[in-house]
Symmetry: C2
Subunit: 212 residues, 2 copies
């Protein structure tokens, strides 16, 4: 993270030290994620995070430039995974319906598996400054467009009902997928992946027995 | 609202004055809803709301006991509508599938039509104290149970696919319905009611052409 690193000496550190810095950074981020998740972003201070990490008061700002940078970095980490599986699905050989099924399954499972970061993302992304929000909005729009394109393709191929409104359907799908952070319990009756598959079946097949 | 009224004299006001107080109260609530929606709950102060209403500094607390009371009252107003159409659907004569369709349609349209209050509800309900959150959680749970019961009934009647998990499906439905506040634009291509119907069709029929 560029800004957070600005207090670090410019000479390249020896590999070992660099690795240590990297894992220390990850520890800072994991602790921040846990505390934001448990207490809320507003209620957690930089000093609280420092104290939980056992940092001396004077060295907190060596690791943490600002609470908002931590929030942004956590949301970025969360989004980087999304970006990578989204790109994989886009490039895959399957039909539009296959891609749709894969995206719903993987996106749901990812949201559920990363509960601290996904909750932070959905509840707190408006706490980011507008230019950082814009990056996220742009990426989300790309995903929505891809889903809409797949629906249109599958309609042309006679696989998806012609009366489905691709735009409304894409919003409905993401609304459903994203909401899993509200109720998912790790270690519960169904795994993140099983819920992802249930969601994909629901979106594609609906509730009703056809013709009944 | 009990607390907000504590500064009001105990003698019953003459009907005319009471009516005036009532509409003034509604004006306070509408202004608060608009300001919370536009600026966010955290960023809006009681004094801001007073100023927007043209209240003198000294009389703000006659109308507004606390920002949190306003939030609670707005969320309560929003929930009162929900409570009333939910009760109507519960008592109606239709089949479980009819009830499900009606709830999805009406709940989506209600969320979209009351954008200021629904946004406030979904983004800020955690700002309420725990005992007030508990009232809302309890009501939400009742709605989820009703939906689960309808799904089980419709499965027994052979109308809903036996492999549907009623609990996961109910969460998926509310996740979808509730998310409409994120993107609905009043005066857009489709009305709140049309989106409600699209959502109900999606949940019940799914995307795919059966058997294709």
């Amino acid at each position: 993270m560029a800004r957070a690193g600005s207090a670090v000496p410019e000479e390249p550190a020896p590999p070992r030290r660099r690795r240590k810095q990297h894992s220390r950074r990850q520890e800072v981020l994991d602790t921040a994620a846990r505390m934001f998740f448990e207490r809320g972003y507003e209620a957690t201070t930089t000093q609280d995070i420092g104290a939980a990490l056992g940092l001396l008061k004077g060295s907190v700002y060596y690791y943490i430039s600002s609470k908002q940078d931590l929030l942004f970095e956590l949301i970025q980490q969360y989004h980087e995974d999304t970006r990578s599986y989204f790109a994989e699905i886009l490039e895959s050989d399957g039909s539009a319906v296959d891609k749709l099924r894969e995206l719903i399954t993987v996106d749901t499972a990812h949201t559920a598996r990363n509960l601290e970061r996904s909750t932070l993302f959905y509840l707190e992304w408006r706490s980011l400054p507008l230019e950082r929000q814009a990056v996220i909005i742009e990426e989300r729009a790309q995903h929505e467009h891809a889903v809409q394109k797949w629906i249109v393709e599958a309609q042309a191929a006679g696989r998806i009902r012609p009366e489905v409104d691709p735009k409304i359907a894409s919003f409905a799908i993401f609304g459903m997928v994203n909401s899993v952070y509200r109720w998912f319990t790790p270690g519960g009756r169904k795994s993140a992946e099983e819920i992802g598959e249930d969601f994909a079946d629901l979106v594609l097949g609906g509730l009703l027995v056809p013709g009944a």
